[in-house]
Subunit: 378 residues, 2 copies
């Protein structure tokens, strides 16, 4: 709330004085000794920002939100590594998600049908793989990604984080009011902007560095050559984050951006696993372990299996995974067709979901020609 | 025509004895001393293959074709570098094309509308850039590539070479009879298979190594994951040729192959220049020089300008290039919109064609936002 105090200086002050409280307890000369201008030192030492801060506290309480300073253990550790981390994150929802592995999914606000479909499919598969889907809740690709992640459900994989360019108690665009409520309930909304901040246009590029900063990488689905998602990809690369892009027809204007990113070195993504294989070995192991745990607990991963008609079947998804695994061998590849013909009690879509889940858990490996082998004895 | 004599051994014999004639003049013991089996030495020394060779000579004369041995100066030098160059090439058409820079364009026999469109557009643009389009005259992508190259016309850029998996006097598939005649007239048909050889299925993978072997690189437009074009790409990489691929929607089965190739390191191609920039500097200079020569001669490059309605205009394409160049500056970028508004005597499509041509000739450079600068004073 201190005018003229940027994120870099704010974090430097916190690092010098150890806590935000200590910064405000410091005298003007102590502040100046820390290397800031006398005007700024006066502004901080005056305590003028405190009135605003009290208002903020009230708004936080009203919205059921929390403020997480840079020094808080809940502050996402990955975000601390970037050049200009926000000194304070406002958060509304499940703050545990800040500790999860996140992948940013971004793209144009005016996608084609292809872009929307692909954003939803990849967001769903990556959420099933245990990744948390971070995006900006803008129209188009962002919205499709959040929605798909919410459909998977928190118990079955990663959640979703919406990074706002306004206060976490605001909604932009207004058509996403219902989605925002659902994210606040089942996912997490974060923002570095104080409560009640309107969605100023200049906030959005600033916000984008938080999406990439808190993520292991950013996946661009559709966008023009000079689009916002191209800028986010550039920021991500500067932050040393992996840049992923979904290719598309060269005749589609909306695929021009991602195709160009691939030409410049972004990883081409045809399916969820193209993202997962690029993660650090530790992160991949963490996802596989999470997935194995879920299999033992309930084994639900694919959104389709939530269909009431399906869950009333004698074979639940957990059973399907187990049954499929029993029919696979560690040495001889078994084809999908063979499984579909053999497992009469399990529907083809359940078999596909089970194979997907088992692959995620590192228990099954897919070979060319839609055939599968067991990775180790269960 | 000697049974049991493979391409590797044939070329080794020619290299040992200097000419094919000398191989046939050699005694059985001289041949055995060159390291081939006694059976093969007997077969060559017997002269039994000569009767077949006489028949071949007759067929060559009837078809207006020629046989170009490995030792002939007309034999494409690039093809000599591969592991197993054909000892003899049968050729029907303009053999000068064997000296030109060629790019292979290959893809599925069952393309989508997108694949056909893109193959034609890139073949046309690359032919305009002075590259000769090599392909296999198969249904689908190959046919689209040859056709587009023929439309450009030899005087306006590169030609086209069809590499057959049968004799150059055969046609496969039969629906391409007319196309084959046109290629024999305005382009070139080559084959390593003797005259009258039927299109045996096993010939086609063998033929593919000649397409890539005589080219600077291979561009894959559409194809499944385990398609023939994926095999051609693999061969091209083994021959140390550049592999290019056109990306496509990940929901399209026919783009799965090219997308996978890009993931494995193939260069992504959005437009003709993505191929040209990867060429060796010498080859690029050669293309630019050719294009500048053509500009002085006639300046026609874009197929559109062949439209009779257009060529009857006062401003021919040559005039268009000259006029556009006069309106460009070496320091201030000029937008396409400005040129269209200013040059009343020249149609927008002529201006675009002229800019394209000037860019190819290295006289103009395109900048972001469809604006252009002159590269050097003319």
């Amino acid at each position: 709330m201190t005018p003229g105090l940027g994120t870099r200086t704010a974090v430097q002050l916190i690092e010098t004085f150890r806590t935000p409280e200590a910064v405000f307890r410091a005298s003007r000369s102590e502040l100046e000794a820390a290397g800031i201008s006398s005007g700024l030192a006066q502004s901080i030492a005056s305590g003028c920002a405190f009135d605003d801060a009290v208002t903020q506290q009230q708004k936080l309480a009203e919205a059921g939100a929390v403020a997480i300073p840079f020094t808080d253990p809940r502050y996402p550790s990955r975000l601390k590594d970037i050049f200009d981390p926000p000194p304070l994150l406002f958060a509304r929802g499940n703050v545990d998600l800040l500790q999860e592995l996140a992948i940013g999914i971004v793209g144009t606000r005016r996608p084609t049908a292809y872009g929307t479909t692909v954003a939803a499919r990849l967001a769903k598969d990556l959420a099933c793989a245990g990744l948390t889907i971070a995006s900006g809740m803008a129209r188009g690709i962002d919205t499709a990604a959040h929605r798909a992640a919410l459909e998977v459900g928190r118990g079955s994989g990663g959640g979703t984080i919406a990074v706002f360019g306004c206060g976490v108690d605001e909604v932009y665009p207004s058509e996403n009011r219902k989605l925002a409520e659902q994210i606040a309930k089942d996912g997490l909304i974060v923002s570095e902007f104080p409560m009640a901040t309107p969605p100023y246009p200049q906030n959005f590029p600033v916000r984008n560095r938080v999406i990439s900063g808190m993520s292991v990488g950013v996946l661009v689905v559709e966008g023009g050559q000079y689009s916002g998602s191209a800028i986010t990809a550039k920021l991500a690369a500067e932050q040393n984050r992996e840049v992923f892009a979904v290719p598309g027809n060269i005749t589609s204007k909306m695929s021009w951006g991602p195709n160009l990113l691939i030409k410049q070195g972004a990883k081409l993504v045809q399916e969820w696993n193209d993202v997962v294989v690029e993660l650090k070995a530790d992160d991949r192991r963490r996802l596989a372990a999470q997935c194995r745990n879920r299999l033992n607990l309930k084994g639900e991963c694919d959104g389709e299996s939530k269909d009431p008609a399906q869950s009333s079947l004698a074979y639940g998804p957990e059973g399907a995974s187990r049954t499929v695994l029993q029919h696979l061998k560690p040495d001889v590849p078994v084809t999908l067709d063979y499984l579909v013909e053999t497992l009469h009690g399990t529907s083809p879509s359940e078999i596909i979901a089970a194979l997907f889940e088992l692959e995620l858990a590192g228990l099954v490996r897919q070979l060319p020609g839609k055939s599968f082998i067991k990775v180790w004895a269960d």
